[in-house]
Symmetry: C2
Subunit: 645 residues, 2 copies
């Protein structure tokens, strides 16, 4: 029987599927929740999926339209020309004919949202950079032959008090047609009340913007109405630069090694952004040209690679970026498929390794408005931290590696259905309870058979619980004298079984190994040491608040994180998780232009601390490798959670 390797995004679930099965059937085999109201009769149109075309080197497969059965007439009822070009299919109509990577858009997914993509909780004052102004002009006559632009400018002044805005070239070209088609009523889209970006015939009510968070691994986009402030579509893609290197350093190395490396990576991410733009626009039944403003955050390397700026100086001391300040670049100059007059506002960069994403976190969290001392940890592939209050702000960057995201962990995976996200280990019996994403209950009360791996929050839980249960000591070393079948020796190296083979989809047990524990210790030690050095610099010995940011920050159990010693002691009610604050920052800057000034000001006010320059770093790092720490006390850690050893 011929099979195809099928991978569903964003969940990451994969498996070999017999050719001829539909995508909907495959999703059920692999436990991916796809909505289907009609039960596969091609009549409800709910099971939309999107084919990701191209060579996916990290998976060793190539996904292309020929690996699906041809587009059917029934699908055309639900899928327009643009969406079809963007790769959309009905899961119930498309049959598998080879290797495939398929993306399940938010609207097609069943059950709870796993990746917390928007921060609907934040209150954002609506004051967007781009606004619409509708005016009706007196038509020209021989006694009043004023030019179109001057006529429009006069009306904008009379009606709205806007003095003499500039006009972007595409708008100038559109102007005479729009005025005459709209019978002298037009709607002008103005940026900052200073530049006419576009002119539409008649009255237009809505204008849209897109906030983009370019992560090293994932690129997320939030399409917003600039009239209501609402997020009307979200999307995410893998950063296509992953093909050239998984982390920042390997991508910089690629630029060093390959003469056209920079141009290739720039092109790849721009192509990716254009795919993202097309799909979020299609999801909202809009055209990409309806997007008139873009904000963008990303770490410094992503920022440089996206702009085509040589990142090599970022890779060697003193790690100098090309620019700190925010930039406004025309979408057409970047090659983005939004309205050509749209501007891309790129938030400022603080320092070499503290990028525009961290500035996004800063304006989302606003530690500079508080008297209390906040420690904000944005845990991604790098750990970026902010410490301070209204009086003083410090930032630092820690090379944590991706262990805390579940990567470079033997059974690590991304936070997606099937991932073990919670772990509890009973001291004494060493029995394990766990919970996977996509299922409501906990093992063993709720029988689980589909575990696929351990995600970031799971690995933090796991190592903290191994320590709390006395299976590893404060130095991270496994005790090998325990009598439990869960403790295995693999080539003499100890590992601890979290899920038995029958509880997984892997035909093997999911374990945490000594090596995994070391990776977590290195990562958390780097964070803790960084936080300590920042506190020393600020002359404080206690934190009032700890904020965990980052896409997976929401899923971390804060007690377990403190048990592990990810950050210095803090009163637990004042430790909080805020989700993708960098993306929130991009969205805030999209919806409220005043926050851009604030971002610029604050990025300039934050003092960057280069941790590796500190003579105490090695010593702090060594001490912080212990669980929770070699020396520091954690008075706020519940006593029942403190280690027995």
């Amino acid at each position: 029987m011929k099979t195809g390797q099928v991978i569903f995004q964003p969940s990451g679930r994969r498996g070999e599927i017999p050719e001829g099965k539909t995508v909907l059937e495959a999703s059920r085999i692999l436990g991916v929740g796809i909505e289907s109201v009609c039960g596969g009769k091609k009549s409800c149109g709910k099971c939309l999926v999107r084919l990701e075309s191209g060579s996916f080197e990290r998976y060793g497969i190539t996904s292309n339209p020929d690996h699906l059965s041809p587009f059917t007439e029934e699908e055309a009822d639900f899928i327009g020309k643009e969406e079809r070009e963007a790769g959309f299919r009905l899961a119930c109509a498309a049959a598998i004919r080879g290797d495939l990577v398929l993306f399940v858009p938010e609207g097609s997914r069943t059950g709870a949202q796993v990746i917390r993509k928007d921060a609907g909780q934040r209150e954002i004052l609506l004051n967007p950079a781009v606004r619409l102004f509708t005016v009706t002009l007196r038509p020209p006559g021989l006694e009043n032959p004023k030019a179109d632009y001057e006529r429009l400018a006069a009306a904008l002044k009379d009606r709205f008090g806007i003095p003499q805005p500039a006009i972007d070239y595409p708008a100038l070209i559109a102007l005479p047609g729009a005025l005459r088609k709209g019978n002298w009523t037009v709607t002008a889209a103005l940026r900052m009340e200073r530049e006419i970006l576009a002119v539409f015939p008649g009255e237009v009510e809505e204008v849209y913007g897109l906030a983009i968070d370019v992560g090293t691994t994932t690129v997320a986009g939030y399409l917003c109405s600039l009239k209501t402030g609402k997020v009307i579509a979200t999307g995410s893609i893998m950063n296509p630069q992953v093909a050239y290197g998984e982390d920042v350093i390997s991508r910089i190395t690629y630029v060093i090694d390959q003469p056209d490396g920079l141009e290739k990576m720039r092109g790849a991410v721009i192509d990716g952004l254009n795919r993202l733009i097309r799909t979020v626009a299609a999801d909202a039944k809009l055209s990409p040209a309806d997007i008139l403003e873009v904000t963008l955050v990303g770490n410094t390397a992503m920022h440089h690679l996206l702009l085509g700026i040589d990142p090599r100086p970022l890779g060697v001391a003193p790690f100098t970026p090309t620019v700190h300040r925010s930039l406004d670049i025309k979408a057409r100059d970047l090659g983005l498929l939004t309205h050509p007059a749209a501007n891309v506002h790129i938030l400022p960069i603080e320092a070499g390794f503290v990028g525009a994403d961290n500035v996004g976190v800063l304006i989302a969290e606003e530690p500079y408005r508080r008297d209390e001392i906040s420690l904000i940890i944005d845990v991604g592939t790098n750990g970026e931290m902010i410490l301070g209050n209204r009086a003083h702000l410090l930032s630092a960057s820690c090379a944590t590696g991706p262990a805390l995201e579940g990567a470079h962990i033997r059974f690590g995976m991304r936070a997606a259905p099937g991932a073990i996200e919670r772990i509890r280990i009973a001291p004494g019996t060493w029995d394990v309870s766990f919970k996977i994403i996509g299922e409501e209950g906990w093992r063993p009360e709720f029988p689980i058979t589909g575990a696929l791996g351990i995600c970031g929050s799971g690995i933090i839980d796991g190592v903290a619980e191994l320590y709390r249960a006395g299976i590893i000591d404060r130095s991270g070393r496994f005790r090998t004298d325990l009598s439990t079948p869960r403790l295995l020796l693999n080539d003499g190296k100890p590992e601890f079984v979290i899920a038995w083979p029958q509880e997984t989809s892997l035909q093997t047990a999911i374990t945490i190994s000594q090596q995994d524990v070391r990776s977590v210790q290195l990562a958390k030690g780097a964070l803790y040491a960084g936080a300590k050095l920042m506190m020393k610099k600020l002359g404080i010995d206690k934190l009032d608040r700890v904020v965990l940011a980052g896409a997976f920050g929401s899923y971390i159990d804060k007690t377990e994180a403190m048990t592990l010693g990810m950050f210095p002691d803090c009163d637990l009610p004042f430790v909080s998780s805020v989700g993708n604050a960098a993306g929130d920052g991009a969205r805030i800057a999209l919806l409220n232009r005043d926050k851009r000034r604030e971002a610029e000001e604050m990025a300039g006010r934050v003092e960057y601390l280069e941790l590796t320059l500190s003579p105490d770093f090695q010593e702090e790092f060594m001490a912080a490798m212990f669980i929770p720490h070699m020396l520091d006390a954690f008075p706020h850690l519940p006593s029942k959670k403190t280690s027995p050893g």
Copy 2:
């Protein structure tokens, strides 16, 4: 014997040349002066000519590289790759194999310049929009890790007091490389001290700009050093839009008739400008990317067609343009091959038919700085006039047609070698003296055999002299009772011989016909009537100054022009010719940014008078058709020149 039709530009000389002759030989046969120091031995490289490729509908020929013998090794010593691509050949090496249009660049021409291209006479204060600033920066270190842009901005502030300039995207990309290649000494090109356009490694001394005058028929470019203000290369091409219509109205009609007409014409003129840019840059041994600022003038239709703005509203009452104000558009947005960060500053437009070219005339002539009343006539395919002084300025446009340029005249031609440019007719004997461009002496003292036609100044002289000698009366009608062999009847229609067949290269006599006289009367009548209506509007009855502008304005005999009645009476010492004042205006705006503000202000201050709306227009026009006028007196016309009848 096979021959090819060969046309030399800019002189316009043409003839059938046997195939196999070199271009240099052809130039001698047709009387075109091409420099050749080595005498055709392919060793001096002075005889550079440029092949104009394409279909030249107005001449009924197609010119292409196959109509010349293949490029030779010897030519490669003098012609680089770029110049070769631009069509350059050595006239002594390239042999004729078919129909050809060849351009003789200024540097290859022998003898006097015919077309007065630059206005070296004008004193221009040098204050260009783009200037260079060289700074040496302290290299970054771990204790001082400021980004490249911020480091440069700080140095510009310290050294030159320039506060925080913006940086254009291409400059941002170039910045890290330039700083490191220049060992932290760089030269930044700034526009208005507000935007960094480019950054070069090390110390750079020169920066260049290009002033462009886009005429309906001819496009002229002046490449200037922005450091010295000197013109370092000039060039001109035929406006490629000529293929779609000779005048403004026929081009607007083409847009109406052809769905892609606008895009075609926009593309054609942009391609033409890029050719011009390549050739002037090559003439100055520069790269197009060395051009960092462009200024551009042109009439309103040329302005719109070049920008891709729908010109149809210009073609119907109330003749509304899309924009009056000046524009700054990035060269990359227009598709020009200069440095991508260069800006194209397009001078403002006054009214539908009074364009940016007239604003160029305005800032070159500055009538607004005088107490005397000036009448400035820019005679091109349209006649555009300015009347006024510091207190009040009026402008108007007259549909003169191209007769005054020598077009639509039976033996009319452009001002080029072989053109009859001066005519005198002796009353009583009716013998004719004349002079052609390219020869020093006058017939009959100096025997002339190569007359090709009559140019604009010649036709003005001719009609004025026909009148002064009593051959035509004040209504323009020929007297048919004169006994002179020069007065011929052609199908019963009188014409007067200026040059006998043996004095021409045409095997036929060059004459002025009744029809030619009527064309001149219509054109001059329109100008005169326009001037009269403007004077009425301003409440004045006498002119203090008359300024004749336009490429051929320099060659008009002002006494003959007043004899003809091209403009109302004025004291002759106060009538002057100023050449291509529109092109001068572009060059002035290129070299002195303050004049751009002045242009904007003055374009707004000029009051446009729509002549066709005046109830007196027809009456004034009828009276002005008479020579010099039906009613008006010309007290300043020398009595010996007044008509006997």
